[in-house]
């Protein structure tokens, strides 16, 4: 009963914050609302016993997304827009309500027994050498999804870079939120970054057997890098640098190399020979962690703004 009350409270807060985010006239307020929404969703995921997802939501859905939204709020002038006519709003509202009602019906009238692949996942998990079933899904059964996802992440970065002004191509991105590089931030960075890096690596490492994993860990590493850039402890590298590009591509390269090696060694693309499954998966995860951390950090930093060679 107490549990249900807690769930009711969380859901009410989530919906309330969502409504507020949509309704407020102030863009900055909406961004703050959205960050709160991400944190509340993290609680929801924990209540649904999906701890891996809760970590992801906290790190990416609320965390890095929040930072990048704040970057936008710093760089953009606030705009207040006129409201659409009431008739249109009612019409759209009704349409959305119909879709919500349809989904609610699907939620309230579930198939029984509920379909699940949990048993399938369990029965094959041993052959992957992993203890965390989600890592098993991501790295073995649906490894192709994960491989392509890393390509998506990389492509998003190239897409963001494609918006570089022509004269700045090859240059360095600026600090994500430049005004913050004063006062106690550098000290905070020096204290936090070593701890954060340890935590990030830890989360990747335990991901094979317990909640955690490369995306969550890489996000924490990326966050530490972003902090270092904001605090002025380091500069973003020039995007033309070859070593940087190798770092970005290393994850997908290792992934595809192991995948192709699986064709002769284990009979299929992205299959692992059983004896080597765990070390190979760890190898991929390490490479992916580095690449994803670098990619996410650079996505938050944004495209370069100054021409190569003009920075100090």
């Amino acid at each position: 009963m107490l549990d249900l009350a807690l769930d009711l409270l969380i859901t009410a807060l989530v919906i309330g914050v969502a409504l507020w985010t949509i309704r407020t006239r102030d863009d900055f307020a909406a961004i703050v609302g959205f960050v709160a929404y991400g944190l509340l969703l993290t609680l929801a995921w924990a209540r649904l016993a999906a701890y891996d997802v809760a970590l992801t939501e906290a790190a990416i859905g609320g965390g890095v997304t929040g930072v990048i939204l704040l970057r936008a709020s710093v760089r953009l002038k606030p705009v207040t827009t006129a409201r659409t006519p009431i008739g249109v709003r009612v019409l759209v509202g009704l349409l959305c309500a119909v879709i919500s009602a349809g989904l609610a019906a699907v939620v309230l009238l579930p198939v029984s027994p509920p379909p699940s692949l949990a048993a399938d996942v369990r029965s094959h998990l041993a052959s992957t050498g992993l203890g965390n079933p989600i890592a098993g899904v991501l790295m073995a059964y649906r490894a192709l999804d994960t491989f392509l996802e890393t390509v998506v992440v990389l492509l998003a970065l190239f897409g963001a870079w494609s918006l570089t002004p022509d004269r700045a191509w090859g240059g360095r991105p600026g600090a994500p939120i430049p005004t913050a590089s004063f006062g106690p931030l550098p000290l905070f960075g020096r204290l936090l970054i070593p701890i954060g890096v340890v935590i990030g690596i830890y989360i990747v490492w335990v991901g094979a057997d317990a909640p955690g994993g490369k995306f969550q860990g890489a996000t924490i590493l990326a966050a530490m890098w972003i902090l270092a850039m904001m605090a002025g402890l380091t500069e973003a590298p020039p995007i033309g640098r070859w070593r940087l590009r190798l770092l970005l591509a290393a994850g997908p390269i290792v992934f595809v190399a192991v995948g192709v090696a699986g064709i002769p060694l284990a009979g299929s693309f992205l299959a692992y020979p059983e004896a080597l499954a765990k070390p190979l998966i760890l190898l991929i995860e390490v490479a992916l962690t580095l690449s994803i951390a670098a990619t996410l950090g650079l996505l938050v930093a944004g495209p370069p703004e100054t021409a190569p060679g003009t920075e100090l």
Binding site: I99, G102, L103, A105, V106, P110, V111, P114, P115, S116, L117, D120, V121, H124, A140, Y141, R142, A143, L144, D145, L148, E149, V151, V152, L154, L155, A156, F158, G159, W161, S162, L163, T164, P165, D166, W169, G170, G240, W242, R245, L246, L248, A249, P252, I253, V256, G259, V260, G262, I263, A266, G267, S268, F269, L270, A271, Y272
Partner: protein, 504 residues
């Protein structure tokens, strides 16, 4: 589960190559020396073309789908790739158009192998390879979530092409396109969630065997279709397309208009003909057909009113996409043994193919016109035939196909659809097809008449154009015509291995 459907077939590895080769190309592009990037891209696309041709050959030879179980895991736990007849045809179409586009785009975007690295060539070649890989995955993917990843890959690759110029208008067009595409993706993903909740699998073959007439499946297909329609730019969700496609550089416009919008359309085909239980789709199919008819009329009328060639060609895409959606009412309403054996099915696929080649040729020609005379205002086209004869020939051939005059792919497609409509007694679709053809004639003659006229003062060519680029566009236009020489009957290749056919 039918065991025969669920095992890697000989040649299945080709499907992996179709997805992985472009990805490797992208990674290589960012690591090789700047002066080699064009060669890396062109070599990748050449390999890709060979892979797609080999796939088509393997499907024809075995008269069955190619299947590959990735990692050896059987669906529903694992992911499978599958190429049936139509997928193989789509792969070859993509491979061919992308490869020819690469020849057209070589040396463009200020590429100077001896100068410093530049933004536009890097972005163009990266995104071209990414679009190739994403489309291949869309054609061969069998898992609804895997296809979602492919759709996102396609979006992330297409948006930077729209804003390649970096001008304010193209940025605004890219942003609007991104918003539509993202809204479409999230609706699609919502449908995926509903499917998993009801069936516990996302694999199309497994789903086709389990499907029943339940509300969850209908809701899911409705949501996914709505999302995909936004990405395909079907009327009335077409508003993003003309500025986006017209603002991109010609080589990019060709890819966006000829291929990228077809990816999401291909998925709608799969959902409706493989997943929707037969008999349930009649109302929805007619609804899609009506939207298609609206697109044909509205798109053509707007194309008639454009002053600039590229915008005209972009609005023509809106109209030509409309024809594709006439397949839904016509193929579901047919008396043939299966929708895949119907005249309308073949007609629809031919329309897709013919439009892809003709439209790519048309956009490339538009780019060449711009380079020849320094603008693309239709009013200033007088005497164009004198200074750019090959380009005007290209535009003429492509126009023949777009209008649907014989002999051309466009004619065959429209003829088959017309026959299907009349055979089913659905004369109203026939009226739409004919009206669309007349309107198309109207807008292409607006271009061709001045181009063939003799000006008072002899026009002059402003910039020279490499003949290989003119020929690239011409080749695509010729292929659009050649498609018209396929027999005017259901094409057996397009029925090979359809999921709904093999799993009753």
């Amino acid at each position: 589960m039918t065991p025969g459907l669920m095992a890697t077939t000989p040649g299945g590895l080709l499907l992996v190559l179709a997805v992985v080769v472009p990805v490797i190309g992208i990674l290589a592009l960012w690591l090789v020396r700047w002066r080699a990037i064009e060669w890396v891209a062109i070599a990748t696309l050449a390999i890709n073309l060979v892979v797609s041709l080999a796939t088509l050959q393997a499907v024809r030879a075995s008269d069955a789908s190619l299947v590959y179980l990735v990692g050896g895991w059987m669906p529903p736990l694992g992911l499978a790739l599958r190429a049936d007849g139509i997928a193989a045809v789509m792969m070859v179409m993509t491979g061919a158009i992308v490869a020819v586009t690469a020849l057209y785009a070589r040396g463009q975007f200020g590429f100077d192998p001896h100068g410093p690295e530049r933004r536009r060539p890097m972005v163009f070649w990266t995104m071209l390879l990414a679009i190739t890989g994403a489309l291949n995955l869309i054609f061969v993917g069998e898992d609804l979530f895997n296809l979602y990843v492919a759709l996102e890959l396609l979006t992330f690759a297409a948006v930077p092409l729209v804003s390649l110029d970096g001008s304010r208008d193209t940025l605004a067009a890219a942003l609007r396109y991104l918003v539509f595409a993202l809204a479409g993706s999230v609706l699609y993903l919502l449908g995926v969630a509903v499917v998993y909740g009801a069936y516990g699998t996302l694999d199309l073959v497994v789903l086709a065997e389990m499907r029943g007439a339940d509300g969850a499946l209908l809701l899911a297909i409705a949501l996914m279709t709505a999302g995909l329609i936004a990405k395909t730019a079907l009327f009335p969700l077409h508003l993003w397309l003309p500025p986006a496609h017209a603002g991109a550089p010609a080589a990019a416009s060709a890819i966006l208009s000829a291929l990228v919008v077809k990816g999401s359309f291909f998925l709608i085909l799969g959902l409706w003909f493989d997943l929707l239980p037969p008999g349930l789709g009649a109302i929805g199919a007619n609804g899609l057909g009506m939207l298609g008819a609206g697109a044909v009329i509205v798109g053509s009328v707007l194309a008639l009113r454009q002053e600039r060639l590229k915008l005209l060609v972009a609005y023509s895409t809106v109209a030509q996409i409309g024809y594709l959606f006439l397949v839904f009412p016509l193929a579901t309403g047919s008396e043939a043994a299966s929708p895949f054996a119907s005249l309308a099915w073949t007609g629809g696929v031919l329309q897709l193919l013919a439009h892809a080649f003709a439209k790519a040729a048309m956009f490339m020609a538009a780019g060449l016109v711009y380079e020849a005379i320094g603008h693309d205002r239709i009013a200033g086209f007088k005497g164009l035939g004198r200074i750019a004869p090959i380009t005007v020939l290209t535009m003429t051939l492509a126009s023949v196909s777009l209008m649907g005059l014989p002999p051309s792919g466009g004619f065959s497609a429209k003829w088959l659809m017309l026959s299907a409509a009349l055979g089913e007694g659905a004369w109203w679709w026939a009226v739409v097809i004919l009206a669309g053809g007349l309107l198309a004639a109207g807008y292409v003659f607006r271009i061709l008449v001045p181009a063939f006229s003799t000006p008072e003062a002899p026009a002059e060519r402003k910039y020279p154009v490499a003949p290989v680029r003119e020929c690239a566009a011409l080749v695509l236009a010729v292929i659009a015509i050649l498609i018209g020489f396929l027999p005017l009957a259901p094409w057996p290749l397009l029925a090979i291995g359809r999921i709904a056919q093999v799993s009753p």
